[in-house]
């Protein structure tokens, strides 16, 4: 029991840093650039992805013995699409405001490479409980990067955090100050640059030296 427990713990810790889906496996970059102009959508997207990766992994792990190898990708896609539509419908019915906030991004979870990646690489060859842990952890690992990007981009791009203004109005040039928001922060290319900086910092830390390609 002790060993399985620590193994699950490792399944959970891996995707947070050493095996992070965004900055190490370089998956899910597209949505990481699209939804991080502000912190709030980044956070709600994180939550939705955690739910969908966890359950997609769980369901595929339960089905793994019966899935015909030749159509497994299609089966994975159907399971993921099914979950995403279900989440979307439930959000629309019971938390309409949140659903509006997320708009198209709930639907776009289907195309997130992390989902297919984890289902194919992990859930199909592991038991349900580790698969659930792995799915959730990858969702969280993805979310950490999203929140970092959202924090920096909203702060420097709009001068606010979670929609609340944090840079005082009198600092702005139009009010006689010295400060201006960085418009580039609002655009997706800058998010890519930020992802690059995160990867750089992450790889230069002592414990991650082995990630550097020779």
């Amino acid at each position: 029991m002790g060993t399985t427990k620590s193994k699950n713990w490792q399944y959970f810790l891996g995707p947070l840093s050493k095996d992070n889906p965004v900055i190490v496996q370089v998956l899910g970059i597209c949505s990481a650039l699209a939804v991080t102009a502000q912190l709030k959508p980044a956070f709600v997207m994180t939550l939705s992805v955690v739910v969908v990766t966890a359950f997609a992994n769980l369901i595929m792990s339960l089905l793994r013995k019966g899935v015909p190898g030749r159509i497994r990708i299609i089966v994975q896609l159907v399971v993921i699409a099914f979950l995403v539509i279900l989440v979307d419908q439930v959000l629309k019915a019971f938390v309409y405001d949140v659903s509006k906030q997320l708009s198209v991004y709930v639907g776009l979870i289907i195309t997130n490479c992390i989902l297919m990646g984890r289902v194919e690489a992990f859930a199909l060859s592991n038991k349900p409980w580790p698969a659930l842990v792995d799915g959730a952890a990858n969702g969280v690992g993805y979310g950490i990067i999203l929140l970092m990007l959202g924090f920096v981009r909203e702060l420097l791009g709009s001068g606010s955090l979670w929609g609340v203004r944090v840079i005082p109005d009198e600092w702005y040039i139009q009010n006689g100050g010295f400060y201006a928001n960085n418009g580039l922060m609002m655009l997706p290319p800058m998010a890519l640059v930020l992802v690059g900086i995160i990867i750089w910092v992450h790889r230069s830390s002592k414990s991650n030296k082995d990630l550097i390609e020779k």
Binding site: A37, Q89, Y96, S103, V104
Partner: protein, 216 residues
């Protein structure tokens, strides 16, 4: 009995069962949730109309406030059909609310424009969208953008000029027919400009009639 998981029969049966099960669950789910979702959308529309009429009401009171303050009428359109127009009287002030709709960058954008009795001065606007980019185009639904429309004029004399969106912060200052566009959301900003102009074009015959009546 050992099943061969790679046989065509197994694959076809597996795929068929899977599709039927998934379709059935999703269909049932959609049918059960449909009334709740429709009620949400309808309540949101009514809430938007109340907002633009100058009332902010809690979600639970929207139905009652709507029934008390807003009436819907049909008016003749330029192409001979009829168009919806909402009238509100909040605090003794009569406003005419015109629903507008157009296409943004990723999907539909729509909104409501409330006009004063002169049929030209904008009293308030509400915009919304299906899937514009958060932080960029989606900002058309932010108060910062919508508040700019208050007090602007749709007509220049007898000409319908609509509201133009201009590039650069403060570019529209002092201009009664323009507002500042959203940086990074140019296409959506232009969509708002276009939707107001084209929708108003359809209402033009009716509005002109009202304006000339008012000026007599």
């Amino acid at each position: 009995m050992k099943v061969n998981k790679n046989s065509s029969v197994y694959i076809i049966v597996y795929a068929t069962v899977m599709v039927v099960v998934v379709a059935a669950v999703l269909a049932i789910c959609a049918m059960v949730l449909q009334p709740i979702q429709n009620a949400n959308v309808e309540r949101e529309t009514k809430g938007a109309l109340l907002t633009v009429a100058g009332m902010s009401v809690a979600t639970e009171e929207i139905e009652k406030a709507y029934a008390e303050n807003i009436t819907e009428v049909q008016v003749a359109a330029s192409d001979g059909g009829s168009l919806p127009l909402y009238q509100s009287s909040v605090g003794g002030r009569t406003l005419y609310i015109i629903p507008v709709a157009g296409s943004g960058l990723w999907g539909p954008v729509w909104g409501y424009v409330a006009l004063d009795g002169d049929w030209s001065t904008i009293s308030a606007v509400v915009f919304d969208h299906k899937g514009e980019t958060p932080g960029l185009g989606a900002e058309i639904a932010a108060p910062v953008f919508m508040d700019q429309f208050v007090g602007k004029q749709l007509f220049e004399g007898d000409n319908l000029v609509g509201i133009t969106v201009l590039k650069g912060a403060g570019a529209s200052q002092g201009n009664p027919h323009a507002v500042d566009a959203i940086s990074g959301g140019t296409i959506t900003s232009r969509a708002v400009e276009t939707m107001i102009r084209t929708t108003l074009e359809e209402y033009k015959p009716y509005i002109e009639k009202q304006r000339s009546n008012g000026n007599d």
